[in-house]
Point group: C2
Chain length 276, copies 2
Amino acid sequence: MSASEPSTKKQRTDGYVLYYWPGIPGRGEYIRLAFEHSGTAYTEDSDPSKLLPTITDPKNCGHPGHFAPPALKLPSGKFISQTPNILNYVAPKLGLAGDKWVKLTEKQKNGDKVDIGSEEYEQAEEERAAVNQLVLTALDLSNESHDVHHPVAVEDYYEDQKEESKRRAQSYRKNRLPKFLAHFQKVLESNPANKEGNTYLISSKTTNADLVIDGAEFAFPRRTAALRQSGKYEKVFALKKRVESEGGIKAYIEEGRRQPFSQGLFRHYPELDGDD
Amino acid sequence: MSASEPSTKKQRTDGYVLYYWPGIPGRGEYIRLAFEHSGTAYTEDSDPSKLLPTITDPKNCGHPGHFAPPALKLPSGKFISQTPNILNYVAPKLGLAGDKWVKLTEKQKNGDKVDIGSEEYEQAEEERAAVNQLVLTALDLSNESHDVHHPVAVEDYYEDQKEESKRRAQSYRKNRLPKFLAHFQKVLESNPANKEGNTYLISSKTTNADLVIDGAEFAFPRRTAALRQSGKYEKVFALKKRVESEGGIKAYIEEGRRQPFSQGLFRHYPELDGDD
């Protein structure tokens, strides 16, 4: 950049950089899973003393600054944030936006052009929106899992809202978790691509939607065991098992790089769990 | 459709159809504002006895079914749901995804092709992601506003969780609302397109991000009045005023078609409000 050019924080990088807190999987994990599944290179910048200044100050990250991590620096130098937004942005590039976008990308690789006015682009965008929709619903569940241990004030300790947490946990175990599981079970049952026992939420490939169904088993082992035993949600549990056995995610787990859940978004407090 | 074709619920329609609960603005209002601002025709289907069967059963809405309203039926016949997903999908079509997408759309209208491998498409998608990011952050605030009156169980009445609501309201008024307002104020200050007193969150046009900053003044009139008086968030309040004076939204309000807030997402309970 010449000295006379206006300052811009968009500097091209070699690849994707994830900005997130160290030590917990948290919401950053959903981004990691997308990169790991697709085998796409990314690095992490998780110095906790620099994280917030880097991503919230537009002098460092460009306009607009970000409300909270995770943020992702794109190869163009642009930063984006909000977990479902990051996933939706990278989905076509990582092959996680469904069959139709994968086909468009293959055409591109063969040197063919794909016009944004074409029917094939329209249909791929509709499928990408279905993926994003399912991702948002799964993230709603994970947000509700978080709110079980923080029902009244996100800035206070769990220990200062234990009584309210117990009440919210009852609602979560009895009503909310089964409602979400029933939704995803129904989606797995109605996917026409699942005729031969496949467990894809949408299209005939793993998408971001499949990768974000996670966490409840860690936080509520007794309740999820009981729900599993009911046999009503077997496709949802099968989906999770299938994802963990697939290429990139399998390696991520086996190489010990996946951080265990601990005290982040999902937390296991035995007093909040129960068989029903 | 011939009798031998497999049943598909994707039937072309004349336009967009919004499926949402009657009688409250709720989350459906964010979708209405996008259509109203851009002057794009849409109809509503809000028969409460048919709403959930229509949008949750894939026999009626196609795969995948939806977790909750609002849902939008596209002209292609496809249904999509999740408020931020609907907004992100329609944003380029309604001119609400930022300057760069508007330019692409103009090129299209002139009969020019826009390839998904082009730099101009890449940059427009980055800007669209910035819009979506800001929308998601504003919707996080509206979700937190909802959780103030439903901190422990969404399926129970407010009256059954009043004590917990009071505690959550304190956190919302003191910490959360100011934190979000400060974020949007900072975004308005750093937007290079706002040099001449403009109040766009991103680019030099109204986007979906500008349209979703709403609701807190109804639910917490005393607290928002105090925050307004502090002078720290004047650009955010100016944004809201500007949006309400713009073409489509102005007509929507003046023609009496905009429903008042009542007992939905945003609720005014005086006991949850306060000057600080």
